[in-house]
Amino acid sequence: MSRYDAWAHPRLAAQVLRTRRDGQSEVTVRVGSLQGAQHVLRLEQAIHGLPGVRRVSVDAAAQRVRVVWDSNRTSLPALLKAFASMRCDARPLRSDSAIDARARDAHDMLKRLLVAGMFAMQVMTYAFVIYIGVVDFVDFTTRGLFRWLSMLSTVPVVFYAAHPFTMGAVRELRERRLGINLPVALAVWLVFIASTISTLRGAGEIYFDSVSMFVFLLLAGRYVELRARHRSVSLGDAVIDSTPLLAERRAPDGRLETVPAAELLAGDRVHIAEGSVVPADGVLECDVVDVDESLLTGESLPVTRRRGERLVAGSVLLTGPGQLRVEHFGDDTVVARIGELSTRARQARDAVLPGTDLQLRLFVARVLLLTLATAIGWLLVDPARAFASAVAVLVIACPCAFALTAPAALTRALGVLAQRGVLVTDSAALTRLERVDLAVFDKTGTVTTSQLALADVEVFGDTSPVTRLAEAAALARESSHPVARSIAQASVSHTWLQAHGVLVVPGEGVRGRLDGRDLRLGRVEFALPAGMAFDERVWLADDDGALAAFCLREELRADAARTLDALRQHGITPVLASGDAPTRVAGIAQMLDIVEWHARQKPADKLSRLQQARHDGHVTLAVGDGTNDAPVLAGADVSAAIATGTDLAQAHADLLLLHGRLHGLVEAREISRQIRQVIAQGRRWSLGYNLCAIPFAALGLLPPWLAAIGMSLSSLAVVLNAWRIGREDQQPPVLHA
């Protein structure tokens, strides 16, 4: 049975399939690596060749493929196998992935842009005829005809193409706030109504050419911005899709296998390590656990659940490990709750930098006042020129560039970072990161790899090391701590031992019953409470005394030294704080040239150290592995967690460093500096441009059509400037499977 056959299950399929009105099925899949445009085309042709396939659309940036087909003729597993045969591993995504809404937005904008462009050209030819005065020689009725034609051709531009601006302005007025759409809509409608009145009266100036060009150029700017934003979002989605929430399912023979949480079925037994997310609704099958349900109920205190009680998907296990029998699966609410966890990173993208909104309102208010002042000034001097000058001021001072700067910079930055393996869950943290001057690093699993090598086993008594290791692994398997994981993986025994009543004591060790003996695995003072000489090894003991001691060797992450050097160059002082023994922490600190290090630190010690540093005026960054040190991370100004597949959804940190790349920190710091620069440049640009252009417009020296071109080009310049973020340091994108 191949792994794709699970998707034949109707309830699993229901999560990812969508039935269209014409009876066809639709599915969006995440595909593995796509090697170039040729591969994309081949894949598209191959899937098209399957019986019943109607439509295939590939979004290469997001690594997503959408297929519309007749599921009676080709089953979902067969479709997925066809993807696999094209060297392209496919995993169905939940049916509500946002790809449709995005395509619809782009289509809508493109249509409006074209309508505005086509009719603007028409209006301009008519205007040209009127300007050069050809028709004046004929007679005035022909001139009137051309004015009427201009008006008719402007109607679709104002009513259809400019509709988003009008609706935006209405919404802003209803919410009683000054936004970017108000000046735009005001300019468009004022000019259109005034010109229409002139046309009906048969006398006075008309500006139909200006207004249709204004709308066209503005839409062109918005369209470029929309495409850029969608591309950034796609790049981010590709990374997020690559890390689904995983669950550890216990096979009938007791072994654990890792499967996506979406593929769990009712009756499956799931093992949940401490600090992990509960992957499905179900009944607890172990004695007692503490659960954090704050994400679901808002209850901030841990809740204790006992055997037989229900656990809710999406809550986080604080003590562990837990064993769960899955009851509900594929339930919409459950899936949505799980989805919420992994979409936190997505939501951050929609947030705008705080403070910009207020500044924008002030800016818009100033523009409106300035327009009014110009109109009044000209009415006193020369009423005939009042309208044209006021409109020119309104258009030229329109703060489009100002409003676009921050969102454009932020969207681009988040897209670039996602591509390089850094997910940002809190976009405000990016601006704080720029001011960080003190970084506190955890040791195990952060500056060292989470994979520890088993260097030596000392056995007491006459049992073989393999047996002792298997016993230790039975306990270690239940914990998510890097040391425990490494011991569990080091076991080579073929006999699978199952411990019962396992309890994980954070920072100390694991205890549990195995074959009628109480075993303890962990620090020497935990495993052998009777007291023994101080020792750094991991000990396995029962009530009679020590059984074995394991010596683990740590290895530095490949990019740890490089990262710390770069951070020092950025003016950040690194500090190493670890719960480990002094000699080991000192060794690692020396290898990384870290001057300040602290050993034997409990989470509370680390937290008070951070608070002291913040009290002294430092802006702090805490880096950890995200699961064992959540409170420490929460205590820093900016938190970063090294997250791998399983941990991603539960790592509560502002920045998530994927693929174990510590160097992502340096890149995030660099990007945060660029964001500040680009925003400052955008501000300076729009301010300088306004200062130069407004006097000319107010004095009536700038016709409205030139104002429209100037304003649109200025917005475009800002968007393109934001696109420079992440360009200078040419880093190859991180390849992910």
Binding site: P51, S57, N72, S75, A82, M118
Partner: protein, 65 residues
């Protein structure tokens, strides 16, 4: 000069037809992928057929073509 009265409606008609064609193209995803069609002429081999291991036989027989 009366020819203008004929030609102007004709241009408007052309604009409307062009917009109609463009809307059709946008709705049929012709503008969604502007990158890969560029390499289409460079592909020499025939499109690869995927090997579907278990074609759903009963459905294929009953389906009218």
């Amino acid at each position: 000069m009366n020819i203008i009265l004929v030609l102007i409606p004709v241009t408007l008609l052309i604009v409307i037809v062009a917009i109609g064609i463009f809307f059709w193209a946008v709705n049929h995803q012709q503008f969604d992928d502007l990158d890969s069609p560029g390499v289409l002429p460079l592909m020499e081999e025939d499109p690869v057929r995927p090997d579907v291991p278990t074609p759903p036989a009963p459905a294929e027989e009953s389906e009218p073509h």
